[in-house]
Amino acid sequence: MFCIPYVKCLPLIALYGQLLLGLINGSFYALLSLGLAVIFGMLRVINFAHGALYMLGAFVSWWLSIAFGIPYWGALVLAPLAVGVVAVVIEKTMLHQMYRLDPLYGLLLTFGITQVIEGTFRYFYGASGQPYPPPAALSGPLNLGFMILPIYRGWVVLVSILACLGTWLLIERTRIGAYLRAATENPVLVQTFGINVPLMMTLTYAFGAALAGFAGVLAAPIYQVSPLMGTNLIIIVFAVVVAGGMGSILGAIVTGYILGLLEGLTKVFYPEASNIVIFVVMAIVLLLRPAGLFGRAA
């Protein structure tokens, strides 16, 4: 048993279970807020469509399995690519016109795109979810001694940590990442050095979107594949991003995991508040440190 005096006692198993769930939610928060931060850093656009792209990733993997019999492993590569292609189309046809305008227009445009994508999926698939089983190799439980871990859930946590670290390395430790950071600081100067900045912007948007699509594939076997899966998530991710501050890539990742875990703990000790705990944290951060936990004051 695990006790907090005067509050609650519960079996350790339940605590571990909720902590694992929190870690999984945190993984999705981290992957999505990371993508938002990368896109915002380069494009100065808050991508409201991020939740819709995440949903698209899940739906593409479901389609691949239903229509072509392509298994999970194929979807893990193909679905993010497909979402990336959709993102390129969005950026090339519409979003690139927003760069010279107030950032609020970018938010409004991507909000509209979200409504179109989600509305269309809802029209054809309703609000209910489609089942998508995890691959055989990742099914079943693993006995860790202190708790039973469903293998797939462990896999999600592991892979998303790797994806986050990979993105961080790509941006902070490679030449492409250096161009990206330079273009974030001063696009005009970088362009005079002969680097194709508009292309970089397109690819950055596609990369952020592909991360969302990747998260969607990971989520498909855990939550059902449904048109609404991205809607509420994106608003929570906004709160995560505000609390963390979008200045640093690592900050977005760390805040995502911390708030996911915190949400899991709240589910254990005060389940009524679990829906709002992240928003409450955001409000407290705004009061104490308006620039965000990892943000620099503007």
């Binding site: 808050i46 938010l107 509209g112 989600e118 608003i235 829906n275 709002i276």
Partner: protein, 321 residues
């Protein structure tokens, strides 16, 4: 380029004589309308016209994009419905109480949101409104998914029976007209001029000695209160307060109305509200997903039509001069 700065000068819409004529014609049309069109539909349009105008007070004249205005509309609807049904308050008091509750909520949300600027402000208002949605989902007095149903319309000052749609229409018209008059007064007051100064150049306004945060917060509270006035009235019209009112989709709709009609113009939001509510009513009859159409209009407006209906008309008039 700031969202509202494109509309700079739009507030001074045309010449004043022409304006008076336009307002008089609109009022006459509004007085005659319920004899031709179904009054409940018109009352819905009027409520959303006030809601959109209240929203526009922030985006158009202070440059703040609130993505959570549904919280104020919906909160007022709940409070008004509860006060009228459970406490048995007179209708006019119930609506007033709803507006005050929305203003109080606006103070809390505004206080937190103005700590950040630009795009962050929008994200914070959206997040706090979503938090409010979850609270409404949990607390008992909102009755969860069912909402507060069967709210009595009551009588106005104990004299006019509001169950009569035609009589109630004129009451709603009076409320909405008063709301618009208040917005017009705010925008054209010294206070409103300082708001516009903050919108156009906040550091400069601060350097002139104005406490920008305090002005923003006051504008936010006013906007929330007026949105609440619309929400409370709407709850009495439909005798209903539900979760739909506090959903983020509703916040999106009011943005669309304002964008479509013309951000930063006084005539725009009511025009946008009429078009949007009309479309929704029309589409409910045929099998076409409303969200898709709303999304498409959003995209088209942002890409091609950023001045909105009223803004385009104004630009046309100005070009001809």
């Amino acid at each position: 380029m700031s969202l509202a700065a494109r509309q700079r000068g739009a507030a001074a819409e045309g010449r004043s004589g022409f304006n008076t004529l336009l307002v008089a014609a609109t009022l006459l049309a509004a007085l005659a309308a319920p004899f031709i069109i179904y009054p409940v539909f018109l009352m819905n349009v009027l409520c959303f016209a006030l809601f959109a105008s209240a929203f526009n007070l922030l985006i158009g004249f202070v440059g703040l994009l609130s993505f959570g205005h549904a919280a104020f509309f919906g909160a007022a609807a709940y409070v008004t419905a509860h006060a009228a049904k459970v406490w048995g308050l007179p209708t006019e008091l119930a609506i007033l109480l709803g507006a005050l509750a929305a203003a109080a909520l606006g103070f809390v949300v505004g206080f937190l949101a103005i700590r950040r600027q630009g795009i962050y402000f929008s994200m914070i208002t959206l997040a706090l409104a979503q938090m409010f949605y979850f609270i409404c989902l949990e607390v008992p007095f909102t009755h969860g998914e069912d909402g507060i149903q069967g709210v009595p319309r009551g009588t106005l000052f104990g004299i006019v029976n509001l169950d009569n749609n035609l009589a109630f229409y004129f009451v709603v018209l009076a409320i909405v007209a008063a709301g618009h008059l208040a917005i017009w007064r705010i925008v054209n007051s010294p206070f409103g001029n300082i708001l516009k100064a903050i919108r156009d150049n906040e550091p400069r306004a601060i350097s002139l000695g104005y406490n920008a945060d305090s002005y923003k917060l006051r504008a936010f509270v006013l906007s929330a209160g007026l949105a609440g006035l619309a929400g409370g009235t709407n709850a009495i019209v439909f005798q209903l307060a539900t979760l739909t009112g506090v959903q983020w989709q509703s916040s999106g709709e009011v943005i669309l109305m304002t964008l479509l009609g013309g951000i930063g113009t006084l005539a725009g939001p009511p025009i946008g509200a009429a078009i949007t509510v009309g479309l929704q009513t029309y589409l409910a009859a045929i099998d076409f997903p409303v969200t898709v159409l709303i999304g498409l209009i959003f995209v088209v407006c942002v890409l091609l039509f950023r001045r909105g209906v009223a803004g385009e008309i104004l630009a046309y008039i100005r070009k001809r001069k």
